[in-house]
């Protein structure tokens, strides 16, 4: 499984372990269904792709982010962990080189193979695709936080086939794409994504698409509406 992913993701490109990739994780996996990871590769300048993966997860890859020229190389979300595993960020710069950083994380089993809470409660369909979000305009960049209600089924739970969000796209008010991300079933249920877009827009059009082809859309009001405080 991993060899397949490694070949597919990295092919023959050079790989370095690089402290310039900051991966921010807590010291304990308190909840193996939702382990928070923040990746900040701004020290590398312009990047092509950011991968978030856990070596020993049955679905190693969680996020495949292509920030593009209009977004900073910064992303955060929560992932499932199935056992004690390294959690890594791999960032590919313009020269094709992959820069990798990681942390060992000790986790109880079952993050990927336990049913989502909303499946147990049975209310997942009532809230499917509900979008929440907000923009925090900073001096140069705008932080976006986006929450999507989705069971993010891994396909590893008996009688529940894989069903997950697969892309998230942010466009400006005119519909021009600002940045896009692909994701897999190892992202936590009801995922929350944090992105850092360059500059300021009057509005951010969010489109999340899942593996059954459903599209969920919403508009985050941009500058002037949110609080001017900035976290970064």
């Amino acid at each position: 499984m991993w060899v397949y992913h490694a070949r597919r993701l990295f092919s023959d490109a050079p790989v370095h372990f690089d402290a310039a990739v900051r991966i921010l994780v807590p010291q304990i996996a308190e909840n193996q269904h939702a382990f928070p990871v923040t990746i900040d590769a701004r020290a590398l300048g312009t990047v092509q792709r950011i991968l978030l993966f856990a070596d020993l997860n049955p679905i190693p890859l969680a996020i495949d982010y292509t920030p593009g020229p209009l977004a900073q190389p910064f992303v955060a979300t929560r992932i499932k962990l199935d056992q004690r595993t390294p959690v890594r960020a791999a960032v590919q710069t313009g020269d094709g080189v992959w820069h990798v950083a990681g942390e060992w994380v000790d986790a109880a089993g079952g993050g990927c193979s336990a049913p989502p809470v909303s499946r147990v409660k049975g209310d997942w369909a009532d809230h499917l695709g509900e979008l929440h979000g907000r923009a925090w305009p900073g001096a140069d960049d705008t932080r976006l936080r986006i929450a999507v209600r989705h069971p993010m089924d891994t396909g590893l739970v008996e009688n529940i086939p894989a069903y997950n969000l697969e892309t998230l796209t942010i466009a400006d008010a005119g519909g021009a794409v600002l940045t896009r991300m692909a994701m897999h079933g190892s992202v936590a249920e009801d995922p929350v994504f944090t992105l850092l877009l360059k500059g300021h827009q009057s509005a951010y059009a969010v489109t999340a698409r899942d593996t059954s082809g459903l599209e969920f859309k919403g508009i985050i009001p941009g500058e002037g509406v949110s609080s001017p405080r900035t976290p970064s």
């Binding site: 921010l24 070596d55 390294p86 942390e103 976290p231």
Partner: protein, 319 residues
């Protein structure tokens, strides 16, 4: 370099290894050696280690108390495992010359509750809410403890307290006890006042110089329980974790941490911090004496942050 499985494993080795697994030797020789300290006439405390549950400490991190009575000693919290509970039973027998006659389980958490298996079920008492909590969660706790503590847990089967505790005054073996049925740290928290010595056993409602843990906490209810404890006259207070409090500061410290935690996490969410950033916020200088502060802050982020985020992320309209 092509990233193959081998380079990946080499990469794994490049990361610092975690402690607990490395500490597990080939043969297991750990034994619990609880030490009793008299804190009032006929009352002893047994201090837990002020650290997270870990293989290195056998999970013996919760404070417990032994109270002598004519009918035999009362044990307030039996510990984390069969061997831990047995060690407490032996200690109580040594101190009082009588076998344990009553065990109170303060709340559901495994470091306090799982050692009940060392005692006859009918002498183990808890709040009805604690029994409900354990029926729901004890299997998961047991799995988690076996994973972390391995051989320390040998023979620890699931035990559910049989006796129901009701709030109020009771006399047991000639000793007057006041039982307080509270909540906040969990859905059902038992505290006990030994009336004649004014010794208050607070369970995990109070932490002292050790950051409070919040996996089942209700931050609205917890301060009300602290009000009740503060209004219960006492000479010394044994917190669930951390040193004995004979200066009347542990309740206020617990309250201060919880109030800060709630407002700091709300502020973090409202400023747009990610969940891992929220776990890295500065901890005020006044909490410098608290053990496990960063660890418990990050656990609390996991417990509360997803809900707090939803309070500050407005629903999006499609157009």
């Amino acid at each position: 370099m092509t990233l193959s499985r081998r380079t990946l494993i080499a990469g794994s080795l490049a990361l610092p290894a975690l402690g607990p697994l490395a500490a597990r030797g080939e043969t297991f020789a750990g034994t619990y050696q609880p030490k009793a300290q008299a804190i009032a006439p006929g009352v002893w405390m047994v201090r837990g280690v002020d650290a997270p549950i870990a293989f290195a400490n056998g999970g013996a991190i919760a404070n417990r108390a032994i109270i002598a009575t004519d009918a035999g000693p009362v044990l307030f919290d039996p510990g984390v495992s069969l061997a831990d509970g047995e060690a407490m039973a032996a200690l109580a027998l040594r101190l009082t010359g009588k076998p344990v006659a009553r065990v109170y389980v303060s709340h559901l958490h495994p470091d306090h509750a799982l050692g009940a298996v060392a005692f006859a079920p009918q002498i183990v008492h808890a709040l009805p809410g604690t029994r409900e909590d354990l029926l729901r969660d004890v299997e998961g706790f047991s799995d988690a403890m076996y994973r972390i503590l391995a051989d320390w847990m040998k023979g620890t089967q699931i035990a559910i307290p049989q006796g129901d505790v009701r709030a109020g005054e009771v006399t047991f073996g000639g000793r007057a006890l006041r039982l307080l049925a509270l909540c906040g740290h969990s859905h059902a928290d038992l505290a006990l006042l030994d009336t004649s010595t004014a010794t208050l056993l607070a369970g995990d409602l109070v932490f002292h110089d050790r950051a409070p843990s919040t996996p089942h906490a209700n931050l609205a209810a917890w301060p009300r329980a602290l009000d009740t404890l503060a209004a219960t006259p006492h000479r010394v207070l044994l917190p669930g974790h951390g040193p004995l409090d004979d200066k009347g500061r542990a309740i206020a410290q617990t309250r201060d941490w919880l109030r800060w935690l709630e407002s700091a996490l709300n502020q973090a969410a409202d400023s747009g911090l990610t969940m891992s950033e929220a776990g890295m916020i500065a901890i005020p200088e006044r909490f410098a004496s608290l053990a496990c502060a960063r660890y418990e802050l990050q656990r609390s982020v996991s417990h509360f942050y997803p809900a707090l985020e939803m309070n500050v992320l407005p629903a999006l309209k499609p157009e």
